[in-house]
């Protein structure tokens, strides 16, 4: 039950409020899950006045504030086609207009296409206080048990990465049963993330070159069996989609198309 609402104007004030154990305070980043609070008295600390809703590209690094909304990212130059598709698949426009990145990463499940894409991009999160940087891939598996800080202030990832995204769902914009995001760095580093199953998307592959991604995709879903699809199906489709993503990136690189 929300009993107190606070909207700090500074980082320090936000940290102070969120550090105060007597307040039972939580960061309110957008508000899309305001109904999920417990019956205990809760103080919500609204971060909207901290200037975290901007992003920029510095030295080929995208720096996005944690209060950047999905729609802001979708409309920006830093989102290529694959990332935009993942965002559009994630939610309709109303939710995209309010759902901010930090909040999404805190609340999404394994069927999230956007998180799958961000995972492939090897996004790093900056936590406060202390500007603690944690890779999304390290945080997701433990996010319900461990927190590197009080709130996320920003996300960052390399801008010059090729990204491809493919998925299978029951309808064109239903939540995916299987989704695959493949990122490739100029160095050849290749990173494969799988979604559509479980509590959070997973990293299936991260290596200096793409060789082996199909095996990795299959292995990563060996037990991905739930009420929505069998592991056998997910394994097979993940391999197919991973191959398509790689083909897409290779064709795009050949034609010097969009990153």
């Amino acid at each position: 039950m929300i009993t107190t609402y606070r909207r700090p104007k500074t980082f320090d004030k936000a940290v102070k409020l969120l550090s105060d154990k007597s307040l039972n305070a939580v960061a309110l980043a957008g508000g899309t899950f305001i109904k999920n609070f417990s019956e205990k008295p809760v103080t919500v600390v609204d971060l909207q006045d901290l200037g975290l809703d901007v992003f920029e590209v510095v030295n080929q690094e995208v720096e996005a504030g944690s209060m950047v909304t999905m729609q802001q990212l979708c409309e920006s130059d830093v989102a290529n086609n694959a990332l935009s598709r993942a965002i559009m698949l994630e939610a309709g426009k109303n939710v995209r207009n309010t759902m901010v990145l930090a909040e999404h990463l805190a609340s999404c499940d394994g069927r999230s296409p956007l998180t799958t894409a961000l995972l492939a991009l090897d996004v790093s999160m900056t936590w406060q206080p202390g500007n603690i940087r944690v890779q999304l891939g390290d945080h997701l598996p433990v996010r319900n048990h461990e927190s590197p800080g009080l709130f996320v202030s920003g996300l960052s990832w390399k801008h010059d990465i090729w990204l491809a995204f493919e998925y299978v769902a029951r309808s064109p914009l239903d939540r995916p049963i299987v989704c695959v995001a493949l990122a490739q760095w100029p160095s050849g580093r290749t990173r494969l993330a799988l979604g559509g199953y479980g509590d959070a998307p997973i990293i299936a592959f991260d290596g200096p070159e793409p060789a082996g991604i199909e095996y990795a995709a299959k292995d990563a879903f060996y037990d991905a069996d739930d009420e929505w699809a069998s592991a056998e199906y997910r394994q097979d489709v993940a391999v197919t989609l991973a191959r398509r993503c790689l083909d897409y990136i290779q064709v795009s690189q050949t034609s010097e198309g969009e990153v």
């Binding site: 039950m1 559009m88 109303n94 914009l173 069998s230």
Partner: protein, 999 residues
């Protein structure tokens, strides 16, 4: 805490609780255009407002978060232009476009769509259709299929850019070549404007019948009579009023699927401050009833109690709470202690009638209907043999046998079930409820709450979608019991989760089909064995299962001698399980049967090498033939023979073939392949379907019409407009007879104190049954007007026979052209000479149920490596008799096709072994968004049904019947996978591809 909100450029200082949602705050302030869909993750978007110009869900924001931002609501858009001495600029361009294009059906999500459009057009004055669809992607609509809302926004954009937009409102001008002898033509109308309106989907393509010509309002795309209020977000819906001292109700639902309540302790809940009442089964009378909103006697078992000491599914009721606020009521629910003695659970309907199965209904009060047998978990049983079925099978050259499976699906109307009850000043209980059946509510609930019918008044405001779900007397008793307990008004509104776990759904079925076919393609016999899962209660169990056979099996009678004496066997068992009850849902059993029958027909076609269209038409019912089931079954009542007079099926197929370019696609391998995409295959399929129109000798509708001083009329109908536009088409029929424009008809529906009886909106009956009642009443009123006009003419020296007077252009006109206005006649009647109130009441019941027919075409693309299927195009050609309003009628088809599309590919309700639902929201239960729709086209082939004064049949249910089998057949055409079960999820198709060794 105190905050200042800037709402529509007005600063408002208010006090809120820190946890108050923006939606609730706005509604408390009187901004009622933002609606609640009951969701918790902002899935539906009915609560849309603009925040700093962006469309957002007000249910997902705290009011405090909105401080410092500009909030814009629908109330800041336009309003009625004429407010007495005060004039306004009227509706804004977006609202006007929504009204004109028929983009409004139930209207519950309309304000949200208008605001989403406002945000879009401010930033992007010339959006593409794709951009419009993206702007609407946050607002779910279950009625329209988004066709007309998208066109409305494009039209508004054009208007705002200063471009000329074609007028809508005239019947499309069609060339004579569209008359029946040239029906294979697919020409567009002569007028360029009409072509544009048809190509855009605002108007359907319509092939008229000669009898429908020459009307001044019937057949024309009139704007809906309720559009003005709905597009402004006026407080037209049940929850849009607030009674002083009103309590909020919540229900404790069972967490187990089958159990006795050993102990229930509500003392802590009752002691909670702010709680006004807590009721359990021990507190209220034990009255057995059925929640099925059907005519008396209800054709099904009486097996339900408001509250019982036994629960039969996860979501069954345990206790009712009424409290000062929703939060207190929810807290009280958590304080109720329940100890269950769990019983064996039946989830799979195939287990229900096993000898060792637990008995779900063992209560002594259980009242059987017909062959229902609680001891066997049998809610309904049907055994029908027409002709000599075994002989028919013996005469066949090939026998085809297969089992088909259809799933349970949710109705997903965006307005949840909602009711307000209160005592009025005469100590009568008023029930303001979102219902399709106000008169059935009154009759059914009276004994349950211990009041005589005369002390209950049921008011039906506007309904935010229903589709059959509000044919159930589902929650009126909850609020009524609590009002009786407390003496205070009570509001009960279900959440989205409660809609999933505790309301009704389409019956899942397992259907075995056996078909005998001769080498020449003649069907010799058909047999359907149906196992229907009614869930924990038997509401609609018999009648839904009956329709599964009655409509889908009756379509195929065979040819030659079999046509004269068809051989059809239909057997159905509707069994109880410990899952949420099934019930009425648009189509009412027919979509289930159509899936099986049309997939079976396709299998026969492919196996025996027939043309899919020729084979079907060779064996279907033809005009003048007896409905084969009419002598065998009539919804649990005495059957009487019915001849089917009008069947436009051949024309429907011909028009559909041309519209999809069937000849160039069917059997053309090159069309099926997509260059550069070797893993994709296109496919095309069709299904033909038949529905019914009302229940003969049973469904009754009534109407009254009263002449006012100014020559306008009050039309009062008991029929319930769910958003379908029935108020409008009923008004059109009356206006046609009375010679006035639709705007002179003041249509009101429905209120058990004020309007004549009508059985309600179900069974595709309103335009046909209630429309005939309206027409009869209008004719009576017209006759009185003509008589009085003749007398006035006589007083003025002209002896005119009343029969020689026509009512046109708001006047009574003689053959010689003399005219008296209806207003003048009204003033004469009410004030001047031999005063009388010119008014009439009429009712109608029909001896027949003339079926509409349709040909449904679908095109799909299948990924043969993953099984993913995309439906690219849906074309439906419908014979619904004469179309009273082409815009509202095509809106019905578009919305119905989209619901059916979900049924085909993605919608299903799944339960685990303990009866717990997989789907409790619109994230897991996916209904189609505006930005993922296939191309859709609607065509009407008119016939003139002689049993109705304007020649109508029905259009509301048939659109939902054919999409799934047409999609299934298209998938088969694309990749060779013959699905027996829907939804056609990717893994099923992938497995089919593996079985056929394609991957």
């Amino acid at each position: 805490m105190k905050i200042t909100l800037n709402i529509n450029q007005i600063e408002i200082k208010i006090k809120v609780n820190p946890g108050d949602r923006l939606l609730d705050t706005l509604r408390n302030l009187g901004y009622l255009g933002a609606k609640s869909g009951g969701c918790v993750r902002g899935e539906c978007g009915a609560c849309t407002v603009l925040l700093d110009g962006r469309s957002v869900n007000s249910c997902m924001l705290l009011a405090a978060q909105a401080e410092g931002h500009l909030i814009e609501t629908i109330e800041a858009q336009g309003q009625h232009p004429d407010q007495g001495w005060k004039k306004t600029t009227g509706l804004d361009s977006i609202q006007q476009a929504f009204v004109e294009t028929g983009a409004i059906q139930c209207g519950y999500c309309t304000p949200a769509m208008v605001l989403a459009a406002e945000a879009l057009l401010r930033d992007n004055p010339k959006p593409s259709e794709e951009e419009v669809r993206d702007a609407l992607s946050g607002v779910l609509c279950r009625c329209t299929g988004y066709v007309k809302p998208v066109q409305a926004i494009l039209r508004a954009g054009a208007f705002l850019r200063g471009e000329t937009v074609p007028a809508i409102g005239e019947k499309p001008q069609v060339s004579e070549e569209w008359l029946p002898e040239f029906r294979d033509e697919t020409r567009l109308p002569d007028k360029e404007d009409d072509k544009g309106l048809i190509l855009s989907g605002i108007l359907p393509r319509l092939i008229p019948t000669p009898e429908s010509k020459g009307r001044h309002t019937v057949g024309h795309p009139e704007t809906k009579v309720d559009a003005m209020k709905l597009v402004q977000g006026k407080p037209a819906f049940t929850a849009d009023i607030k009674k002083p001292d009103m309590l909020i109700a919540k229900v404790l639902y069972s967490s187990v699927a089958h159990a006795l309540i050993k102990r229930i302790d509500v003392s802590k809940a009752r002691a909670l401050p702010g709680v006004a009442a807590v009721l359990t089964w021990e507190d209220i009378p034990r009255v057995v009833y059925s929640t099925a909103g059907q005519s008396d006697p209800i054709p099904g078992p009486l097996d339900t109690f408001s509250l019982d000491k036994k629960v039969r599914f996860v979501g069954d009721r345990v206790a009712f709470v009424a409290a000062e606020t929703a939060e207190i009521a929810e807290h009280a629910l958590q304080l109720i202690e329940v100890e269950y003695e769990e019983l064996p659970v039946i989830i799979d309907p195939r287990d229900a009638m096993k000898e060792d199965a637990a008995q779900i209904h063992d209560e002594p009060e259980f009242v059987n209907f017909a062959a229902s047998d609680a001891s066997k978990n049998l809610a309904a049983e049907i055994r029908i043999d027409i002709g000599d079925v075994d002989k028919g099978f013996n005469e066949a050259d090939r026998i085809f046998e297969e089992e088909y499976v259809v799933q349970k699906v949710q109705l997903a109307h965006i307005e949840p079930h909602v009711v307000i009850t209160y005592w009025d000043e005469d100590d009568r209980l008023v029930i303001r409820t979102s219902t399709q059946v106000p008169f059935h509510v009154r009759r059914i609930i009276a004994p349950v709450i211990g009041l005589p019918v005369k002390r209950i008044r049921v008011i039906k405001p506007r309904i935010g979608g229903a589709f059959g779900g509000k044919q159930e007397v589902l929650i009126e008793d909850v609020a009524a019991h609590l009002t009786i307990a407390t003496g205070r008004p009570v509001l009960y509104e279900m959440t989205r989760e409660e809609e999933f776990i505790a309301s009704r759904s389409r019956h899942p079925m397992r259907i075995k089909l056996k078909t005998g076919v001769k080498k020449d393609g003649t069907i010799t016999a058909n047999e359907m064995i149906c196992l229907s899962n009614t869930g924990a209660y038997g509401c609609h169990a018999l009648t839904v299962a009956g329709n599964t056979g009655h409509k889908s099996m009756a379509l195929y009678v065979g040819d030659g001698k079999y046509r004269q004496s068809p051989n059809i066997r239909f057997c159905a068992d509707a069994v109880y399980t410990n899952t949420p009850p099934s019930g009425a849902y648009r189509g009412y059993g027919v979509p289930q049967g159509a899936w099986a029958v049309e997939r079976q027909m396709e299998a026969i076609v492919l196996e025996m090498g027939f043309d899919p269209i020729d084979f079907r038409l060779k064996n279907t019912l033809r005009p003048g033939e007896l409905h084969p089931f009419s002598t065998a079954w009539s919804e649990g009542r005495e059957p009487k023979p019915e001849v089917v007079n009008t069947i436009g099926l051949e024309d429907c197929v011909a028009q559909g073939k041309a519209a999809v370019d069937w000849e160039s696609k069917w059997g053309n391998q090159s069309w099926h392949e997509i260059p550069g995409k070797p893993f994709l295959r296109r496919g095309i399929g069709l299904a033909i379907v038949m529905q019914g129109t009302s229940i003969p000798y049973l469904d009754m509708g009534g109407a009254s019409i009263k002449l006012n001083d100014d020559g306008t009329f009050n039309l009062l109908v008991g029929a319930t407009d769910l958003g379908t536009g029935s108020d409008t088409v009923l008004g059109q029929m009356a206006a046609e007879v009375l010679g006035v424009p639709l705007e002179d008809m003041i249509v009101y529906s429905s209120d058990t104190d004020l309007t004549p009886f009508d059985k309600g909106a179900y069974a595709s009956s309103t335009t046909y049954i209630s429309g005939a009642a309206v027409t009869k009443a209008a004719k009576k009123v017209a006759e009185r007007i003509r008589l009085r006009a003749a007398r006035i003419f006589s007083e003025r020296g002209a002896e005119i026979d009343a029969e020689d007077i026509k009512l046109v252009n708001r006047s009574a006109v003689t053959l010689a052209g003399q005219a008296i206005s209806i207003e003048e006649i009204a003033m004469d009647a009410l004030h001047h000479t031999d005063q009388e109130q010119i008014m009439a009441v009429a009712s109608h019941v029909s001896p027949v149920s003339p079926p509409p027919f349709a040909a449904q075409f679908a095109e799909v693309t299948v990924d043969i490596e993953t099984g993913q299927t995309t439906v690219d195009k849906l074309v439906m050609v419908v014979d619904a008799g004469v179309i009273i309003n082409p815009v509202t009628a095509s809106g019905q088809v578009e919305g119905g096709m989209v619901q059916a599309l979900g049924y085909a590919v993605c919608e299903e309700m799944v339960y685990d072994a303990k009866g717990k639902a997989r789907e409790t929201d619109f994230l897991d239960y996916h209904i189609f968004r505006a930005d993922e729709m296939p191309e859709m086209k609607t065509i009407f082939v008119e016939t003139f049904e002689p049993s109705h004064p304007f020649g109508v049949k029905s259009v509301s249910e048939i659109p939902i019947d054919g999409v799934a089998p047409a999609v299934g057949n298209a998938i088969l055409d694309a990749c060779g996978v013959s699905l027996k079960e829907i939804p056609a999820v990717p893994e099923k198709i992938w497995r089919g591809l593996k079985e056929t060794q394609q991957i």
